[in-house]
């Protein structure tokens, strides 16, 4: 099953053909989500963002583009991804029925490939020959390097030094795929600093280079565009749950780094008032310790990396470094659409600490035979809370955003278990 993709002549406002715009979509004005979003960028990038915006809008009404994208989704990524009922895991979720949307089974092992392939096709459409990307967990870097290899484009990935260490497997994957991996030693040496460095590269290289942002953050049109490429997750899940259960879920649950896997799932249910949208950000050592990445629990509206959104910042508007065991959630900002969903109350966000997430990782591994990424484990811990809250017979979909291969060294340290041969162990817990 591949669901037909909505084709529009205008992104917002005007409805053509059989495609009906959701009331949610009509409430967004291009580039802004309520007071959030926008474009806070150097003038030098304005032309490139305008070009991207035009390329994106023309592509999504071009049947050839949609056809190419859809074919790759099916034959390369392996879509649709299954919706797996997780009965043994559900026993720990207050009697709720739990379904896992299996983005971990996509080629490269996470939802990130949905966006990377879409933007790689746009890169070609704009006549550009090089892609750059930031990456935290390495999944977006791997996805971009993969799409670059597939389409014959050059690729450079910026990754914080701390993340190259904790996600070493993905560094090697990117290199094998032919990408250049640039280790960033500025600031907190994590995702935030990788984005700064990618932006600096982009300002200087923009004529031939497209910046493949990996999540729903950044200046317009990135949040809207990445959402478009990830929306397939929600479309499939909606169809699949109706086929399996004959009804919509009571809640859909996802982890929120920048927020792309969450927006992808949420977007399928945005206008279904009975479906709760639940996002889980990284609580790190605990929100009260200050060592976390809980933008909604402990941040405030500000401007970071090109958009107005919730940001972890001090009294003076300086960004506060985030902390999480999960490289992919270790970011002090969040996609602007989530800020708006938060303020309007449409979605609810909570923090999950490192220990709770790691317990959920172990639990899913042992009850379902699925080792999730540590990012994803935050969503699983969230689902356990939501299940207990909504009670027996409630129906919940969790976005299983990625698989955990990249995290085995961290998990081995955390649980004090033996290292698989060939994986280097650092001293630690």
């Amino acid at each position: 099953m591949i669901l037909s993709r909505p084709v529009r002549t205008q992104p917002f406002g005007i409805v053509e053909g059989e495609i009906k715009l959701t009331t949610y979509e009509t409430a967004i004005s291009a580039g802004h989500f309520g007071p959030y979003g926008g474009r806070f960028v150097p003038e030098a990038l304005t032309a490139a963002l305008d070009e991207l915006d035009a390329a994106f809008r023309s592509a999504i009404i071009d049947p050839d583009f949609i056809d190419r994208l859809t074919k790759l989704e099916v034959s390369y990524t392996g879509r649709p991804s299954p919706l797996t009922k997780a009965d043994r895991f559900a026993e720990h979720c207050g009697g709720a029925r739990i379904y896992l949307k299996r983005e971990d089974l996509n080629h490269t092992g996470s939802h990130k490939i949905n966006n990377a392939i879409g933007q790689a096709l746009l890169t070609q459409r704009m006549g550009k020959t090089r892609m750059i990307a930031e990456t935290g967990a390495g999944q977006h870097g791997v996805a971009t390097a993969t799409a670059a290899a597939l389409l014959g484009l050059d690729c450079t990935v910026f990754m914080g030094e701390e993340d190259t260490r904790r996600q070493a497997l993905n560094v090697v994957r990117m290199q094998l795929l032919g990408a250049e991996v640039f280790s960033v030693t500025a600031g907190s040496r994590t995702l935030k600093d990788a984005i700064n460095e990618a932006m600096r590269d982009w300002v200087a290289s923009v004529e031939k280079t497209h910046y493949v942002l990996g999540t729903v953050t950044g200046p317009a049109p990135f949040p809207e565009m990445v959402r478009y490429f990830q929306a397939i997750v929600g479309r499939e899940a909606r169809e699949q749950i109706q086929a399996a259960e004959g009804r919509l879920p009571d809640a859909v649950v996802a982890c929120v780094g920048g927020g792309s896997n969450a927006i992808g799932l949420f977007s399928g249910f945005m206008d279904d008032a009975t479906v709760q949208l639940r996002g889980y950000e990284a609580g790190g050592d605990g929100v009260e310790t200050g060592r976390h990445a809980a933008r909604f629990a402990a941040g405030s509206p500000g401007v970071l990396h090109g958009a107005r959104t919730y940001v972890m910042q001090d009294t003076w508007g300086q960004t506060i470094a985030s902390h999480s065991i999960s490289a992919g959630l270790d970011y002090p900002g969040v996609g602007p659409e989530h800020s708006w969903l938060h303020d309007t109350g449409r979605a609810k966000y909570e923090a999950v600490n490192d220990d709770e997430a790691m317990a959920a990782l172990a639990l899913l591994s042992r009850t379902e035979g699925i080792i999730p990424a540590i990012e994803t484990a935050h969503a699983l811990a969230g689902a356990m809370r939501v299940g207990r809250e909504l009670g027996p017979d409630s129906l919940i979909i969790v976005n299983l955003s990625g698989r955990g291969d990249k995290d085995v060294a961290t998990a081995a340290r955390w649980f004090g278990i033996g290292a698989p041969a060939g994986i280097e162990m650092a001293e630690g817990r």
Binding site: F40, A44, A47, M199, V203, V206, Q313, Q318, T319
Partner: protein
């Protein structure tokens, strides 16, 4: 336009030279030292000072300025300290501008920042990540009192330049190359063409920045622009100096060389 920048450009024009605009982050290497260094720059021929407000994520800046602002932040350079530095500069002999990424100003409060900057003797603001589209509240809060200098870049279309210069006051900041701040061996070849495109759209003075570091580069730019902006080169000579007195004399020497250079 606030009178001050207009005066500066009228004066440099009448003496047949381009205005020399020098940047340093407040708090680098300390608040007091940055005041001394910037006053030494003014004393050695700089016509306008850009006081950098250090920010945690300076994504338009190259290695030298990244280093300097990180140093300033770790030394506790808050927005209050920056405003205090502004107030201690020799505003009789130079126009005083603040260069800041947008979030610290928004966080401080747009009107509050405008009021406090004016009270401290500031004449204008340059915001490298704020384009006019998002600047409504700021422009409303500062109209007539503080100049807002927007940037144009080689990638800006003619149509866009037309709009940007209408929103700009004081002068237009023309980025010489596509790239971040940093001393370069050559000033971008696109700079002259960009200035020419701006001239078709505005009578405002046009200053060229990014990459200028020597007297001869300044001279080259002064042939077609009304102002020459130098930042990383000042930071560099301070980084290279063993102590404050040496830094002050290095900064004086560079400012002197550049001030010769901007004569036509």
């Amino acid at each position: 336009m606030s009178r001050r920048l207009a005066e500066v450009f009228a004066q440099t024009r009448s003496t047949n030279r381009a205005a020399l605009i020098g940047y340093l982050p407040a708090g680098f290497p300390t608040a007091d030292a940055s005041v001394e260094l910037m006053n030494a720059m003014i004393d050695s021929g700089v016509d306008a000072i850009e006081v950098g407000l250090p920010y945690s994520d300076p994504l338009m800046d190259g290695a030298d300025i990244q280093f300097a602002v990180a140093h300033a932040l770790s030394g506790g350079t808050t927005t209050e300290v920056v405003l205090d530095v502004v107030g201690r500069l020799d505003g009789d002999r130079a126009a005083i501008l603040v260069m800041s990424y947008w979030n610290p100003i928004e966080r401080y409060g747009v009107e509050r920042f405008a009021t406090r900057l004016k009270a401290a003797g500031g004449n204008g603001v340059i915001t490298p990540d704020l384009t006019w589209e998002e600047a409504g509240p700021w422009l409303a809060a500062t109209a007539g009192a503080i100049d807002t200098i927007f940037l144009v870049a080689p990638s800006s279309t003619d149509d866009r330049i037309k709009t940007v210069v209408k929103k700009t006051s004081g002068f237009v900041y023309a980025a010489s190359t596509m790239g971040v701040t940093g001393a370069r061996s050559e000033v971008g070849a696109g700079a002259q063409g960009l200035v020419a495109r701006c001239r078709l759209a505005t009578k405002l003075p046009i200053a060229v920045g990014l990459g200028v570091s020597t007297g001869s580069q300044a001279h080259e730019v002064a042939a077609y622009a009304d102002g020459v902006i130098v930042g990383s080169a000042f930071v560099r000579c301070i980084r290279a100096a063993p102590d404050l007195p040496a830094a002050i004399s290095a900064v004086r020497a560079l400012a002197g060389e550049l001030a010769e250079g901007v004569k036509r």
